[in-house]
Amino acid sequence: MKRLVALTMALLIIITGCSSGGKKTSGDNVAAIQEYRTAYSGEITTLNYLVTATTNEFAMAANLVDTLIDYDRYGVVQPGLATEWSLSDDNLVWTFKLREGVKWLTHDGEEYAEVTAQDFVDAMKYILNPANESKTANIAYSVIKNAEEYYNGEITDFEQVGVKALDKYTLEYTLKNPTPYFLSMLTYVCFFPVNGQFLEEAGDRFGTDNINFLYNGAYIMETFEPQNRRVLVANENYWDKENIHITKLTYIYNKEAGTLAPELFLRKEIDYADIPSDILDEWMNDPEKETQIRPNRTSFYSYFYCLNFDPQFPEEYEPGNWKIVVNNKNFRKSLFHALDRKAAMLTAEPYDPEKRISNTVTPKNFVDLEGVDYTQLGSLAELSNNDSFNEKLALEYKENALAELEGKATFPVKVLMPYNTGSSEWANRAQVVEQQMENLLGTDYIDIIIDPKPPTGFLQEVRRSGNYAFLECNWGPDYADPETYTDPFSPDGTYNWPHLAEGYKESNGKNTYENMVNGAKAEVVDIEKRYNLFAEAEAFLIGEAFIIPYAVGGGGYSASRLNPFESLYSPFGVSAERFKGQKVMEKPMNSEEFTEALEKWEKERAEALKKATK
């Protein structure tokens, strides 16, 4: 039925479109002119991909420089600059065979050199030099052999670092420890190649503009005018030219893009605009505009509320009392079940808040075992399939907590909840959460104190120094493995120090959770076992209510002439930022089409992943 409608629509467009300048449109909603324009409000500070760790900066580099491997639109690994690769039996040495004949080009399209294995070695050498201020060096030296020692100056001979060009087209990485997720890290900027000679010539100027830059990717940056615009044109000599459909990308700067972009979209001056939640009502209620917007996909940023086990806040908020109650499981559980996450989410996502609510720390669709999603493994499945908000349970746990804590703690418990004033959404949410939880649990039980803190030095002042009782926190992955989501809760983390929770000590002096995580980390060969162990650890963390999972990032709505399901898919790295495989649509996707496409994509993805593991 849907297809029939689409077909009629397309026919209508052809018939009516003929009169307006003879633009050709095919039946599958592809625009005749494959050019894409968008407005952005955050200017990039550099093009030097070896230094940056900022998404909008490496999103640029992703389209200009290629990586060893890539992903397809289901998240299955595909060859990139490397055509084939192998892993040694001790799981430590990875060898890559490079694609021959790929060229480095200058900004005016002239050939500079061939891409060789040495380029990856030169890039690593640059990153591991502390003077170059690379913000991703730690990702590289967390896996590469001797890299951390080189960075810290304990080794001065770069030959000893685990990256080598065996010949012109053979590259070898030697790892510190067996790392099952190493391949997934290769699409991150610290594993990008760079031409050593060019880098040396450019010196500090490398990446400061489009001229001091070499291209081997799908696009070449033709114009780079900060605070004005950038123009990327398709690379004529790109090795995978058949999959590049959009010939020109134009980025227009506007500081007020949040307010102006929707208007620019309506006037057909750009092809993509985020629709902020403030004005979403208007777009949803206008039949004309409603057909032009669709939800965005969620990201792998994870948001959760932390209960602080090491309270360091001022005496007036009674940190001693908080320390007592937070170590009581019934108290924690009462908060766990009392937080109405949907009410909180309405401050960010007034339509369809459920799509961003997450019941686990590790988001859905992050990793899988032969098509079975990680969040559906073991006891994590039950948590991830049930909403934590439950008024009845919350009140039951409250009664238990009151009984157990009688005489030990004073009620109402003062719950210090700071928020960052830099985000008005967060300020709104803090107020919603305060009133919602106090209403449910009663102001004689808890007294949530919302505390406005300036964005300046927020993390250091609040979370890292333990200056809170209850706080909304977030974390993004560093590689495609569930281990990455345990980092915040490790003893050297700076989130809520769950290893200090009382009553969980085991014979080795460590807390149950820490032991579970360490056990999972030690399993590096059997992926099925590894994932299951991590899932159990995460289920324990959530089940004991050390934290309350809240949401994933991304989301919101946009008006866009791109199909989000055509884009490359990877939970980590730069692949998802690439325009490879994407086409500009004649007509933007609407919400129904999006939902339908999402379902179809999820089904196809499970199959593709199953096929890939075989």
Binding site: T45, T46, N48, V51, A53, T54, P130, A131, N132, E133, S134, K135, A137, N138, I139, Y151, N152, D204, R205, T208, D209, E225, P226, Q227, N228, I252, Y253, N254, K255, E256, T259, L260, E263, L264, R267, E269, T456, G457, F458, L459, Q460, E461, G476, D478
Partner: protein, 314 residues
């Protein structure tokens, strides 16, 4: 006068020195987290130290200060550390200043011409139609926050007149609206003060005398009243003129004009120390020069004003 000028200019150098030193030190009070933007979280301790020391922030304060002064003396504003990492500040400013100056001068010319004539017209027809209409305009501009009427003009005027929403260097038609919007506030304020000073002057006895002498109204206005009324406004002219290089934060953000507006605020919020220092140096120099030139201009226009006479000093 010359002696006075030299004295003041010399004194200005000391002021400049104090200003940039204070700003230098204030920037060092900002929390270190700010140097990393959003990336702070993902870095480990060794990296943070490496980055901070590479930015020169780990040197002892007096060394940092000394390096800063030495660079400055050799005419080097330094390189941006965050805003556009490793790009010489002079190069950043070179591309931005022309945009702001062009728009600023155009807007200033418009508001001076319209503002002053409106003010004079209003004063001459006090409490009559022109005065009331002018007052209405002034009241409106002052009452509605600029952030609102700028956005309103941009969204609706472009729609009605089919103008492009954003600034485009290649399309002169897109320059009109930003310039006009930018001049609205200035027009209102020039008109308001011009009217005020004129009304005050018109009541003075010399005007009555001039009328009694039978001078024509126009002569009185131009030769006597206007000249006197303009004196207090003239003090601000050099400052306004020089500060056109700082751009307009609202207008430039709304219309995507790649000028200087908001650059200082941005640099401060991102803690790009070198850029902040360079901008403060420039802005305070022109601020000081502006004040000085204003005084000179005022004294030139009204010879009764004596800046340097020592006699009778209190």
């Amino acid at each position: 006068m010359l002696k006075y000028s030299f004295k003041r200019l010399f004194q200005s150098l000391i002021t400049l020195f104090i200003v940039i030193t204070v700003v230098f030190l204030l920037m060092r009070l900002m929390p270190e987290e700010g140097y990393f933007g959003d990336g702070y979280e993902k870095l480990d301790e060794a990296q943070r130290e490496a980055i901070l020391s590479s930015m020169g922030l780990r040197d002892p304060m007096h060394i940092q200060l000394k390096n800063f002064y030495l660079d400055l003396l050799s005419g080097d504003l330094g390189e941006s550390i965050i805003y556009r990492a490793k790009v010489p500040i002079a190069q950043i400013l070179k591309t931005k200043i022309p945009y702001s100056v062009r728009f600023g001068l155009a807007a200033m010319a418009i508001s001076l011409i319209f503002g002053v004539s409106l003010g004079i017209t209003m004063a001459r027809s006090k409490n009559q139609l022109w005065d009331k209409m002018g007052t209405g305009y002034i009241v409106f501009i002052n009452a509605v926050p600029a952030a609102i009427y700028y956005l309103f003009l941009q969204l609706y005027i472009t729609d009605i007149l089919k103008l492009p929403i954003l600034f485009n260097p290649d399309r002169p038609v897109s320059w009109i609206l930003p310039t006009i919007s930018m001049s609205l506030g200035g027009t209102a304020s020039y008109a308001m003060w011009m009217r005020r000073y004129m009304v005050d002057e018109l009541n003075k006895d010399y005007v009555k005398l001039a009328r009694a002498k039978g001078l024509r109204d126009k002569t009185i206005m131009v030769k006597h009243v206007l000249r006197n009324a303009f004196v207090p406004m003239v003090q601000y002219l050099p400052t306004s003129l020089l500060f056109t290089i700082s751009g307009s934060i609202y207008i430039e953000s709304l219309y995507s004009i790649p000028g200087m507006g908001g650059l200082l605020v941005d640099a401060i919020q991102r803690q790009d120390n070198t850029l902040v220092q360079a901008l403060v140096l420039i802005y305070s120099s022109i601020g000081i020069i502006g004040l000085f030139l204003g005084d000179i201009l005022m004294a030139t226009l009204d010879p009764r004003i004596k800046l340097d006479r020592k006699a009778g000093a209190r």
